[in-house]
């Protein structure tokens, strides 16, 4: 090999290795993100109990605001990081949990419930969001622990071969496309719902403002 070949090899390695390292880091952090998201969501009774001990409104507000920001921020970050499960090339070539896209779909459903209903005031909505989150976490953890991270275990070889995306690319891609279609439907529903809600709220606000302003104008003119 000439020096140019070595330089090219190192350049290629840095480019390819860098992108693989980024993907691998996201995959490595996802179990932590899912665990954090679940703990923060399920730990709500404890947070509410602590909140009630606050004697002052300021402390209670700061506590509740910090909790909400962390809980929902972690959920959004987990969703953002999970988008790698919708990249066909990565799904077919990297060792991902085969039901990772379905887990992401469940996470999106939980977020959709949060967007459309008042999860913190409505017990049924909270339960629904919890069910989606737990289902998503289970779909993520099981293949991650017993397939992706268990390649060395011979007695788990069936799981390793069938539940890792690059060992079973046909099924992995099928699951990915179905989940992607589901995610697109939910995203479209959220989009149009937000649009309708803005129109409705703005119209009612504008008419309310007009009701208040116009009599004053008339009174001022007369």
């Amino acid at each position: 090999m000439k020096p140019d070949d070595v330089a090219n090899a190192i350049t290629q390695a840095l480019v390819q290795g860098g992108s693989q390292w980024l993907v691998a880091s996201l995959v490595a952090f996802l179990p932590a993100m899912w665990t954090m998201a679940l703990i923060l969501h399920i730990g709500r009774p404890y947070v509410v109990r602590t909140l009630r001990r606050c004697g002052l409104r300021l402390g209670a507000d700061v506590w509740w605001m910090s909790y909400l920001l962390m809980r929902d921020g972690v959920l959004l970050a987990t969703l953002g990081m999970s988008l790698i499960f919708f990249a066909p090339a990565l799904v077919a070539n990297s060792a991902f949990p085969i039901t990772g896209p379905l887990a992401t779909l469940c996470l999106l459903l939980a977020l959709a419930v949060k967007l459309s209903r008042r999860v913190d005031d409505d017990v049924a909505a909270f339960r629904l969001a919890t069910v989606f989150l737990v289902a998503g976490a289970t779909l993520y953890y099981l293949p991650q622990v017993f397939a992706v991270e268990a390649a060395s275990q011979e007695h788990l070889s069936w799981l390793v071969n069938n539940l890792t995306s690059n060992s079973n690319p046909t099924l992995a891609l099928a699951i990915m496309w179905v989940s992607l279609a589901g995610a697109a439907l939910i995203a479209a529903w959220i989009f149009f719902r937000a649009l309708a809600s803005v129109n409705r709220k703005m119209t009612s606000r504008l008419s309310r403002t007009a009701d208040i302003v116009q009599p004053r104008k008339r009174a001022a003119l007369s």
């Binding site: 090219n8 840095l14 954090m36 399920i42 009774p45 402390g59 622990v145 991270e149």
Partner: protein, 219 residues
């Protein structure tokens, strides 16, 4: 060796080295997390003494909330960072404390107790939390000090004992204990989810039941 072979070797080196570096960093940070959370839990009387000296309610509330937030976030971080103990491949390839997974399960048990009861106001729950934290610390620090850290120093019988306490030199027990830890976490996780579903996220069961009755259609 072709340039592509060299590129592949470097890519594999970067990935494998990066993964081991990340896991090694987590393993190195965990003893600090354990010490900090133990210190904060055992230092509760000191914090309560300080709160009594405040003349303003605002300062007392803030100190208590900051204390609770740091203490509990450290426990959550400990559980999250211990996740690598549940991965058979990681446990086999890295030098980790043998009972680290059980320590993580003890830490998760603390979170469960905090969820279903109120250790800051119920002495019995506080004692259970203290026992679990003590047990978890023992399960973490004994194999960490006498296994992982002493592996290169001790000889003879101590070397055998030391090797036994390190996951990479004792893969059979390491993987077995990883499965036991996963089962414990799964059972406790299911209990936590069941409790939260029953309460609907409210502070206690009675409150959620009263909201269920109010939400039910009236005849």
């Amino acid at each position: 060796m072709s340039p592509q072979d060299l590129a592949n070797a470097i890519v594999n080196g970067i990935n494998a080295g990066g993964e081991q570096f990340l896991e090694g960093t987590l393993a190195a940070a965990l003893p600090v997390i354990w010490l900090a959370l133990l210190g904060l839990h055992l230092g509760r009387p000191y914090i309560l003494d300080m709160i009594d000296r405040f003349t303003l309610r605002l300062g007392a509330d803030m100190l208590w909330l900051v204390y609770v937030a740091i203490r509990d976030l450290l426990i959550v971080s400990g559980v999250v960072m211990s996740f690598m103990y549940f991965f058979p491949d990681v446990v086999i390839s890295d030098q980790l404390p043998l009972t680290g997974g059980l320590a993580a399960a003890a830490l998760f048990g603390v979170l469960l107790i905090k969820l279903v009861s109120d250790p800051d106001h119920d002495p019995r729950a506080f004692r259970i939390v203290t026992y679990l934290l003590g047990l978890g610390a023992l399960l973490y620090f004994i194999p960490y000090l006498f296994g992982v850290q002493a592996a290169g120093v001790v000889t003879g019988t101590f070397a055998t004992l030391s090797d036994f306490m390190v996951t990479s030199s004792n893969p059979f027990w390491a993987v077995g204990l990883a499965y036991v830890s996963i089962a414990l976490i799964a059972i406790m996780g299911a209990a936590a989810v069941a409790y939260t579903l029953r309460t609907g996220g409210r502070a206690d069961l009675a409150e959620s039941e009263s909201e269920d009755v109010a939400a039910a259609p009236q005849p």
